[in-house]
């Protein structure tokens, strides 16, 4: 059997009856990370939403460790081991930092408290704010909490949708450092991003989307940021010949 964590085959999906992604083919092996680039409306968010079961899949299959899950509900996908950090964070505004982590954790109380302590050790900024409601946190703290929420159950696959959106340059570096440390711990990550340079350090693999289709797929080391930027802007891939 293929040892890939995630295999997406011929995936087509729609949002509010409009087709958003077309014939997507992606293979992401265990412990690998992939960054999806693309202009606004290219289909990055739609792809992650389709994987999470939030957008309707019209055809194609998605497998996680050999198990087809494209017919499962969003809730079942979460229990299968997919952690999702959506665009715009989507925190529960009235829940405190601690409550957000506690409500997400699936397991016994002692185990939960240990895991929350681990997260607070990694993200001390959240520990200081553990009793504060999510809506009162700064943008960076909210993003840290959204990432912590997506990773608290140690998922097999982590989906990160534009985790640096709306953050200051200093905070972008900090968030990328956090994602880098999650990757170094062996997580399998699929991340959609618009900011090319800071994200390339995360992606073993790079995919560029345009109008819902893959226009480039390759190793992160094989491509430079300017080429990606050009593809994102023009919506087409033209190899550079030296």
């Amino acid at each position: 059997m293929n040892n890939a964590t995630l295999i997406i085959s011929n995936l087509n999906a729609s949002h509010k009856r409009e087709q958003t992604i077309r014939d997507i083919e992606i293979t992401l092996k265990e412990h690998q990370s992939m960054v999806i680039f693309g202009a606004t409306g290219a289909g990055k968010t739609s792809l992650l939403r389709a994987i999470m079961g939030l957008d309707k899949i019209s055809s194609g299959t998605i497998q996680l460790n050999g198990q087809n899950f494209h017919t499962m509900s969003t809730r079942q996908r979460a229990h299968l081991g997919i952690g999702y950090c959506p665009e715009g964070r989507r925190l529960f505004p009235g829940l405190t930092v601690w409550e957000t982590l506690a409500v997400t954790f699936n397991g016994k109380k002692a185990e939960r408290d240990r895991r929350i302590d681990e997260i607070f050790h990694l993200l001390p900024a959240l520990k200081i704010k553990k009793g504060d409601r999510a809506w009162s946190l700064s943008g960076g703290q909210q993003q840290m909490l959204a990432i912590a929420r997506a990773t608290i159950n140690k998922p097999k696959l982590i989906l990160l949708d534009e985790p640096t959106l709306g953050l200051s340059p200093i905070m972008i570096d900090e968030i990328m450092e956090i994602i880098g440390s999650i990757k170094d711990n062996g997580a399998t990550i699929l991340m959609a991003e618009q900011k090319i340079e800071p994200s390339l350090s995360i992606g073993d693999l790079v995919v560029v989307l345009s109008r819902g289709e893959i226009i480039y797929k390759g190793l992160g080391d094989d491509i430079d940021p300017d080429q990606i930027a050009s593809m994102v802007m023009t919506g087409s891939f033209e190899p550079i010949h030296n």
């Binding site: 809730r75 715009g88 989507r90 529960f92 505004p93 009235g94 997400t104």
Partner: protein, 300 residues
């Protein structure tokens, strides 16, 4: 004079406590589904009638040696009404959940009318009286005479409100209910069963309405047309307390009860009602988000 003032305040607090239970349930449903359950008042009335039936059943010949007391009936009413609430969510909400909120509130109006007319068909329009919570009578402390019924209403309602507060804030189920009510799609994404949370919320809300019906059934009697009035009181309390705020709703419901009793004693019940709606209009005019609204913002 002091005795009378204290007695009026106690009357107001006990009525406000019953309103607080109705309003709490009302807010829980608004938060969970984003639509108003217009049958909440009719469930208060249904809880009152259920209390009357259970009380008669319990004192029936040779059935049970325990004389019917509201406190013994209360758990039965809570459980029965919670079951009705679960059924109600399956009938009035679940089939319509993907429709606009207006469809849901029309469906709850229809269900409220069905409940009202069904009970009317069975009992008729005459007022019924439920049992006292512990016993009727008074307690005398110095020169102060306090009604046992009012004290027991205040204590029972406070206990139930504290239980709801504990459930919502200190248990995993409560956190799930709150998460699902704040962002149902995201709640599903972290593995929470959203539809189940909504059914549990309806159960809880309607159990609270039933408890309020029991508490009110002795002092205020119960008639099949009561639902609309309770519904309006809950609506006023929610508006004053700030839409979606559980603590604001409880405080506002207590204030509504107190205001109503004080004004009814000083002037008249009709004037009290009119002034209550005038106060509502003033709040809507000058503080439309409610007196206790929290400035919840999403930072980016």
């Amino acid at each position: 004079m002091l005795d009378i003032s204290l007695q009026i305040i106690l009357n107001g607090i006990s009525l406000g406590c019953a309103y607080a239970l109705i309003t709490l349930g009302f807010v829980l449903v608004i938060n969970a589904i984003g639509a108003v359950n217009f049958a909440q008042g009719d469930f208060v009335m249904a809880g009152g009638f259920l209390t009357v039936v259970l009380a008669e059943f319990m004192v029936a010949d040779n059935f049970n040696p325990i004389r019917a007391s509201g406190l013994i009936i209360l758990p039965l009413v809570l459980i029965s009404m919670a079951c009705f609430g679960f059924l109600f969510s399956l009938i009035a909400y679940k089939p319509l959940k993907n429709r606009p909120p207006v469809t849901v509130f029309i469906s709850t109006i229809a269900m409220g009318l069905i409940i009202q007319h069904s009970i009317n068909a069975g009992f008729g329009p005459e007022p019924q009286i439920g049992p006292a919570l512990i016993s009727s009578g008074t307690i005398t402390i110095g020169t102060l005479t306090i009604s046992k019924q009012q004290i027991s209403i205040i204590l029972s309602a406070s206990f139930l409100i504290l239980c709801v507060g504990f459930l919502m804030n200190k248990t995993q189920l409560g956190r799930k209910l709150r998460a699902a009510s704040q962002d149902s799609e995201m709640a599903e994404s972290i593995g929470i069963n959203g539809p189940q949370c909504i059914s549990i919320t309806f159960s809880l809300a309607i159990a609270l309405a039933g408890a309020a019906g029991l508490l009110l059934s002795n002092q205020f009697f119960v008639t099949t047309s009561d639902g609309g009035l309770y519904m309006l009181k809950a609506y006023i309390a929610v508006t004053l307390g700030g839409w979606g705020r559980l603590d604001g709703a409880v405080i506002a419901a207590l204030a509504v009860g107190l205001f109503e009793v004080i004004m009814a004693t000083l002037v008249s019940y009709v004037v009290a009602e009119a002034l209550l709606f005038a106060a509502l209009l003033l709040v809507l005019l000058f503080r439309p988000s409610g007196l206790f609204a929290e400035a919840i913002q999403r930072r980016t």
